[in-house]
């Protein structure tokens, strides 16, 4: 029993390491090759835990081999377009110029229900609002609505808008993020002065976000 616990403990960290090595893409939508590796990893990892007669190396070796191959292949696909197409496939246009390509839908085995569900997930409930829809290699549908169905922008209204970065979390639960201060080109002196002006302390700040030195929001911790 103890062996199983220790093995599970080791494999937990090994799998985390493997997934981290595969990169951030792994966590979001999966490419076909990544899906295959994920399925295999989860299966292989259970073998040495379930059966203690199997040495740990029999579990670790295929995990590291699969992850290494996946990273190497994904690096090769960056350089070679043909390999990228072979491994991940290519995006297919389902709706072009507002017209559904039924042949592509049949080819992708995509039903009308699938299409409508994908459009609804993009906040489009009327098929006539779609100018272009593309089935991505990850299986998701990207939709470009017709100009008439797109929200009004500052440009449409001929209004001058300033482009600014979104606010950054400077203090989270009483902890200062030095990386956020560096990103905003601000320092702790500025932070202290702002906190003092609010009449509180860093420890008592629940959330503080800032866009720049003059635009910030401070939410204090509620007292129980």
């Amino acid at each position: 029993m103890l062996i199983v616990i220790i093995r599970a403990f080791i494999l937990y960290f090994v799998i985390i390491l493997a997934v981290r090595l595969m990169g951030k893409r792994q966590i979001g939508e999966l490419q076909p090759s990544e899906l295959v590796v994920t399925l295999l990893l989860s299966n292989i990892a259970t073998l040495p835990v379930e059966d203690i007669s199997i040495p740990m190396t029999m579990g670790l070796v295929p995990i590291f081999t699969l992850v290494s191959i996946d990273v190497i292949v994904s690096c090769l696909t960056l350089r070679f377009r043909g390999l990228r197409r072979a491994v991940s496939g290519s995006a297919k246009i389902i709706i072009s110029g507002g017209k559904i390509d039924q042949h592509v839908m049949r080819e992708l085995r995509f039903t009308t229900d699938d299409l409508m569900a994908a459009l609804r997930s993009q906040q489009i409930f009327d098929l006539n609002e779609v100018q272009l829809a593309v089935a991505e290699t990850t299986g998701t549908i990207s939709v470009y609505p017709k100009k008439s169905a797109q929200p009004v922008t500052c440009e449409d209204m001929s209004i001058k808008c300033e482009n600014t970065d979104p606010p950054v979390m400077v203090i989270a639960d009483g902890e200062v993020s030095k990386a956020a201060l560096r990103y905003l080109d601000l320092d702790e002196k500025w932070l202290d002065s702002v906190i003092k002006a609010k009449g509180t302390t860093v420890e008592n700040v629940f959330i503080m976000t800032a866009e720049n030195g003059s635009t910030y929001t401070i939410i204090e911790r509620e007292k129980n």
């Binding site: 199997i54 040495p55 190396t57 029999m58 590291f64 992850v67 290494s68 191959i69």
Partner: protein, 123 residues
């Protein structure tokens, strides 16, 4: 790029580890086959084989742990069990000694064959 280098190093380590394990078990099998042949020869000449049997047992004890890292213990343990009977059979100069040595050699050969990626074992 860092991930690529780590992956290449890891893959190289895994491949070299795989090759090293094949070489290790092949070396161990060669030694077991050699000692087995020596025991058979000395036994047929009517000589005392306890020293060679002890050598075989010692050799197996030294390599048993490493082998457990390389292969399934279900395949290693039967060889240990067969080898553990050898000293007693050698002391008694039993007729069963040679079939027992043959069995050890056969199991060791089978273990060695299992390591090498022949098409039949890969598929």
């Amino acid at each position: 790029m860092k991930r690529l280098y780590i992956s290449i190093i890891m893959l190289a380590a895994v491949i070299s580890g795989g090759i090293a394990s094949v070489v290790y078990i092949e070396h161990a099998d060669d030694r077991i086959q050699y000692l087995g042949a020596q025991i058979r020869e000395e036994y047929s000449r009517g000589e005392d084989v306890t020293d060679d049997v002890a050598k075989l047992c010692r050799f197996w004890e030294e390599h048993y742990l490493v082998m457990c890292f390389i292969d399934n213990s279900n395949d290693i343990s039967p060889i240990s069990a067969e080898i553990s009977r050898l000293p007693e059979l050698a002391e008694q100069r039993s007729e069963d000694l040679i079939p027992q040595v043959d069995c050890v050699c056969y199991l060791s050969g089978k273990l060695n064959d299992k390591q090498f990626p022949y098409i039949h074992s890969v598929l």
